[in-house]
């Protein structure tokens, strides 16, 4: 009696796909996957196609079948574009190298040490992270202006290093939290100093995480627009801002802008193709 009632009270639930033909689930999955892929790929495809079209052929994809590389040539004949690429590359690289030195050590400190110093540091990072990053721009502009750093490489570099340190020390702490500290204790017993244990054991163990963080930092600065817009001008052109300058009073030169955007995308694509293993591995620690 009791058995029968329990059986009745939980009948097999009828699922959506039970109403449909067999194989409907596979079809639905295929459609969903296609939709997502299209959603992500369409902007890139449109961008690439636009960059290969003459200026008069960009508004409608079907207007003519003419394709050309002239846009790329034209873009790179402008010295400001070349300069922007060089500046952005230098900025991303230098900012990443400088900030990694700080994020790695400070992340380690946050993960392993107790006391007033790590606590204060953690609190300040926390506060800076909670403040929306857009609200830093104006104060930073005023500071840079008054220190004579406006529109200098160093001015924008300092801002980026600051953001990296605040955003990524946090992530680095998480990585180190995932690494068992007894490895470092073993190293200290095996003859290392505290610093030696960090450098020779914890650091190599965090290698993939550091690589992942380096890539994230690099891409963050490479793609950053707001700081570049406010803190730099004509003397220090940066990629993202230069790209936006194709919007003129006479209209937007979509073809040129696209050509530049495609070139700007290349480093990100290369990194995604070759380093995604490290990024995934690093983020998993």
């Amino acid at each position: 009696m009791s058995l029968a009632s329990t059986a009745q009270s939980s009948p097999r639930r009828t699922r959506l796909f039970d109403f449909l033909q067999p194989g409907a689930r596979a079809a639905f999955t295929a459609i969903a996957v296609t939709a997502v892929v299209v959603l992500f790929l369409a902007p890139i495809i449109i961008l690439v196609v636009t960059s290969l079209r003459p200026g008069w052929g960009v508004y409608y994809i079907y207007r003519g079948t003419e394709f050309t590389l002239a846009n790329y040539v034209e873009v790179f004949q402008r010295s400001v574009v070349v300069e922007a690429f060089i500046n952005s590359f230098l900025l991303s690289t230098v900012a990443t190298i400088l900030s990694l030195g700080v994020t790695v050590t400070s992340g380690y400190m946050l993960s392993r040490f107790k006391g007033w110093l790590p606590k204060t540091w953690f609190t300040s990072i926390y506060v800076f992270r909670t403040v929306p990053y857009i609200s830093w721009v104006l104060p930073l502009y005023i500071v840079n202006e008054s220190l004579g750093l406006y529109d200098t490489f160093f001015g924008i570099l300092a801002a980026h290093v600051a953001v990296h340190v605040c955003f990524f020390s946090w992530i680095m702490k998480g990585f180190f939290d995932g690494i068992d500290p007894s490895m470092e204790y073993a190293a200290m017993i095996d003859g290392c100093t505290r610093w030696g244990a960090f450098r020779r054991v914890a650091l190599p163990a965090a290698g993939p995480a550091i690589a992942a963080l380096g890539i994230l930092s690099w891409l963050w600065t490479w793609n950053e627009f707001l700081f570049a817009l406010i803190l730099t001008g004509n003397r220090t052109p940066l990629l993202t801002v230069t790209m936006a300058q194709f919007v003129t009073e006479l209209g937007t030169e979509w073809n040129l802008m696209s050509a530049m955007a495609v070139m700007a995308m290349i480093p990100a694509v290369i990194i995604t193709l070759f380093a995604q293993k490290y990024v995934i591995q690093g983020l998993r620690i």
């Binding site: 068992d180 007894s182 490895m183 204790y185 073993a186 190293a187 017993i189 095996d190 100093t193 163990a205």
Partner: protein, 363 residues
Amino acid sequence: MAEVVLRDVCKRYGSYNAVDNVNLTIRDKEFVVLVGPSGCGKSTTLRMIAGLEDISDGTITIGDQTVNDLPPRERDIAMVFQNYALYQHMTVYDNLAFGLRNRKVPEDKIKAEIDRAVDILGLRDLLKRKPRELSGGQQQRVALGRCIVRHAKVFLFDEPLSNLDAKLRAHMRLELKRLHRRVETTAIYVTHDQVEAMTLGDRVVVMNNSRIEQVGTPWEIYAHPRTRFVASFIGSPAMNFLDGRVRSNGSGFHVETPGGTFHVSDANATGLAGHDGRDVTVGLRPEHIRLSETKAENALHGRIELTEQLGAEQLVEVVAEESRIMVSRVEAERDLKPGTPVYLTVEPGQLRYFDRETEQRLA
């Protein structure tokens, strides 16, 4: 090779005493096991000896040297951790060589040392592997190897077997014992597993609530526990405890419990002298209890609640009045049904008596 002496050692975190006034002398080449429940301060004590924790009070000496202010690397110790703590990015060979390279030992000498350790531990084929390609038992061996090559004065073990499965643990326990006989180094071993403590230790240190409860050989700890805690912690299944009251009957003593009365043996009587009328706790080891279905003299009367068939023996839980009493070493063949009335008897000399309030042993 060295003696390790802990004198009035304390570890305080704010107002909390993690280790409270520990005094202990570990003789040269001795294997001492610190055992106790989690949070009893055993690991903290070990970490203070290693130099991974500061000492709040007291002194620790290794050999002739007070090591209070020495960093771990200058204490000449080696340590095995619960999770092995192998350097993940190095091969087994480099893991073994790491400590020696830090001490600037020439590479050919390192090779000779590793050869020797590898033969002892059977790691020959694994030298080129990375730790994550090894099984738990193999990783454990590498961690041991890291100690052996160092020729440190003292080996420290922090629950080294607790991450292994039961079968491997029993195997590694034997290997550890064999290893100690072969390498002959002072060893301090921390565990919460009383079986490891009993089987490995030349002497066992039982800790509870940040203090040492008793130090002694495994047999002393088992046969003559100094406190109720030690009696309950050592032995499996755990000792049974009954509340009772001491009664003098002219020539000797007996102890009355709700389930029945125990005659106090002559040897125990001296300890109970002067405690007439006092509340005590009677301790009965499950393996000392005889279970019979026929009425017996001086027996506790109860009913079988549960039986656990282990193949070699049966464990029987008996309810006598309010108390649950575990009986072990009951012949596996006996057919015992729950609910059967039974009589439990114990040799009077095997009973242990503890003061109800102080929990110290009386007899």
